[in-house]
Symmetry: C2
Subunit: 496 residues, 2 copies
Amino acid sequence: MMSSPRRPIILTRRKRPFQRNEADETQNKSSTASGARSVSASAQDGIRVVDHPTRPEALVVVVPETAGLQSVLDALTVKRKEGGTPGPNKFIFLSGRCGSDDEVKALFQATSENKNRPEAGVAGNDQTLPNSGCTCKEKFDGCVQLQEPQHTEENPSAVKGPLSERPPYSYMAMIQFAINSKKNKMMTLKEIYNWIEDHFPYFRNVAKPGWKNAIRHNLSLNDMFIRERADGKISYWTIKPEENRGLTLDQMYKPAFDPVASSFPQAMQSESSVVVMSAPVAEVEEERVCIPFSEPCNSEQKEILRKRYERISRRKQRLVPLSNEEPVLLFDSSLVSTFQEMECDLEPRQDLQLQSETFKTPDKGSHPFSSTPSNSPEPWKSTPLDKGNRSVMDFSPIRTPPQRHEHSELSFCSTPFRDLPLFGSPRELLASCSHEQQTESSNHSLTEDFVLDTMNDSLSNILMDISFSGLEDDDLDMANLSWSQFIPELKLDVSL
Amino acid sequence: MMSSPRRPIILTRRKRPFQRNEADETQNKSSTASGARSVSASAQDGIRVVDHPTRPEALVVVVPETAGLQSVLDALTVKRKEGGTPGPNKFIFLSGRCGSDDEVKALFQATSENKNRPEAGVAGNDQTLPNSGCTCKEKFDGCVQLQEPQHTEENPSAVKGPLSERPPYSYMAMIQFAINSKKNKMMTLKEIYNWIEDHFPYFRNVAKPGWKNAIRHNLSLNDMFIRERADGKISYWTIKPEENRGLTLDQMYKPAFDPVASSFPQAMQSESSVVVMSAPVAEVEEERVCIPFSEPCNSEQKEILRKRYERISRRKQRLVPLSNEEPVLLFDSSLVSTFQEMECDLEPRQDLQLQSETFKTPDKGSHPFSSTPSNSPEPWKSTPLDKGNRSVMDFSPIRTPPQRHEHSELSFCSTPFRDLPLFGSPRELLASCSHEQQTESSNHSLTEDFVLDTMNDSLSNILMDISFSGLEDDDLDMANLSWSQFIPELKLDVSL
DNA sequence: CTTCTGTTTATAAACACCACA
DNA sequence: GTTGTGGTGTTTATAAACAGA
Ligand SMILES: [Mg+2]
Ligand SMILES: [Mg+2]
């Protein structure tokens, strides 16, 4: 029934194209009119740059595998000249053959439309936030919360497909989803409960009440979740900004049984690769977040990338791909091979057997011979062929090596994207990018970093957040930093 | 049967004097001849300074409650003049009325005699350490491992009283005991297993094999335990030096059923207080480890001390005293009242009831109403009157606020006491001690720090380790730093 | 007094990784 | 060389006790 206790298993590599079910174009109801500029695809070397349908600060870049990095930069430069000054600062790269621009936009419309749900219709608990002395800015568009479509009371049973299947996300992941869904990135415990119950009815309907204990346990135990007390009595849970990957539920791809996310166009489900990465929100000076591209990479380069990965992620154990009914996010296999040796040989999976009873209740067996309690020494009753049931999503907090400050005090009015700019200028980004290497082998190109940082988020989620403070929407005084000025510099560094 | 999962419950406040059983003076077999100097008690104001029976670097200072700090310093100065140059640098303070000097020495003989057990007689696994390319110094006397009395094969059944009662120590504590028992403060996993099995036969005899899983789990999860790989294949587990409290099993007081530790003189079991604290081994510059004395302390001072405690200890939740069959370490109640409001009103404890079945097997109940699974909403089947079953020992790692370095590389030949001196000079100690305060209320005296740092180790274990590098036994070139020169400075600072 | 929130430990489990047979 | 295999290490889940508001 319940899946195994260990579940970093989030986004898994898929083997075949999805079994696409039909009810697709039914929910194209999202905000195509709100922030969507027109699709302006500048076809250079087959590259197409498409506005994100709902997020004006984001661009979707469709890159064929044959296209070089130079072409991408050119295309972005052209696109930059078309747009206004506070242009997009987030880039979602799709590598591989994709359908039309509308299909690309529909792709992100579907996933960014976050489960139409009344955000404040549950119990009225959420009103505590805007009223309790919090003077946050009301409109902040750099954040993730794109929904609020004022659907009052849809059928909450349609939120998840089977209505009560346990989501494939760990508690740590779900808490991050919940907190990152708020503008100010802070939630009370009760709000977290409600968010999870609303988005995953499993916990409201079938889970034992102990799941709330588990939530509290995770909040306390994980260093990335910190409690901040307002002057009043209520305390909010936040995510350490320097460890926040900005993960949100809408970044996750929902498998076919999800009626909302299943509207992927068929053409994209075969060979495309979606690479979306959330950069850490706080200051990141040592490790760079770069565009992932598949470049050939020899073994020692792999080793360098592996070590670099270990510096960035707190995770000590590598993640590996695969599974079928877990949520899947498509990506190009050539990206994987640089870090994990292409273990895509998944067996046909004789599914069932004791499928529904693999969860072993504790205290039952008292296996007297193995120190790991479940390593049943009788091999005939082991769970059949769990190989292949692997994943690649890394929800672990970001490791920030020096850990300079013990975490800032409670700052209510801060939107992390604004108060904690990644860099003061594009030149700072590039300087730190090449500065990092010069101690050891200083001759590997920038594209290696791309691949590396792909590994950092386990090849699944790379949203490049350049997000200079000078380019923020309301800091237009500094916005004369030309975006196209940034592109040639990057080009220069790469060609070196 | 098994006690509750949550067990920071280590050293508990006791209510009445112990039921002292008789087999006491039988094991005075320890190394009185080895490093024991003669008892030289300099009675000033009733203070007696006694050499530690087995540890030449340590002094036992018996301080009546009426004695002032000045008297202690005078007594230590006198004692210093008697000894040689590399004099003792560890001080164990006994406050309260104690017996004769021999009784005092017998006290520490009994407890420091660490469970006579052949250290290499189990399976031969321990030989990996001295042979595997480790070039550690063979003789290091600043460490804890005092046993090795070459008792080949005593009855291992006599190690613990009931032969298979679960020890009251958490896994984290036991791992610290194990690792700190080694000279070089590093152990392989197998060595840790063996040490625990040898010292607590419960795990060899009655525990389910899952306890080894728990050990590994603790090693991995706790940041204070770090794995260091030699160039070879074996990997050692160590304790982050800056978080190591130096806890050892022989610092713990064993209750009466323990035949070894039960040899406390009767006179000391009534009103004495043992205060032993291990200073962190690594560099500690912000927070001072000071002598605990009971000084009157008003409420705002308490608040300062409480906040300071929170800076030092990683523990977020206060510890509270009490229990009866748990190991007990005596301490003066006036020390407690400064931090924890003297909650010594323990009920008479109607002991049994479902005493032997309080451990609830998971998955049994499915309590559908409380998010903490065991909060059985039926109050009639709750465990009876657990109030009073409290403790005060803090095994949590020491919090080092800035966390400057990511932990040094694997240094095999280092003995932490030598390589990581606490201070370069006594003056540095005092400077940092008074330097710490000057930001806020700079007028509270040094004795407040004493009380505070008592709180840090939960009023139970304070071993003052002054341990200047210049006073180390083989660095005699710098040893002309007079010890008596240090004492007046401290005196000056205190009287200020 | 209870309930909710928060902290800490214990235990089971899955699985990754690796030395070694 | 490959290939299991068992020991070691990491991570998550769950139950539980208990502190504190
Ligand atoms: Mg936390
Ligand atoms: Mg660890």
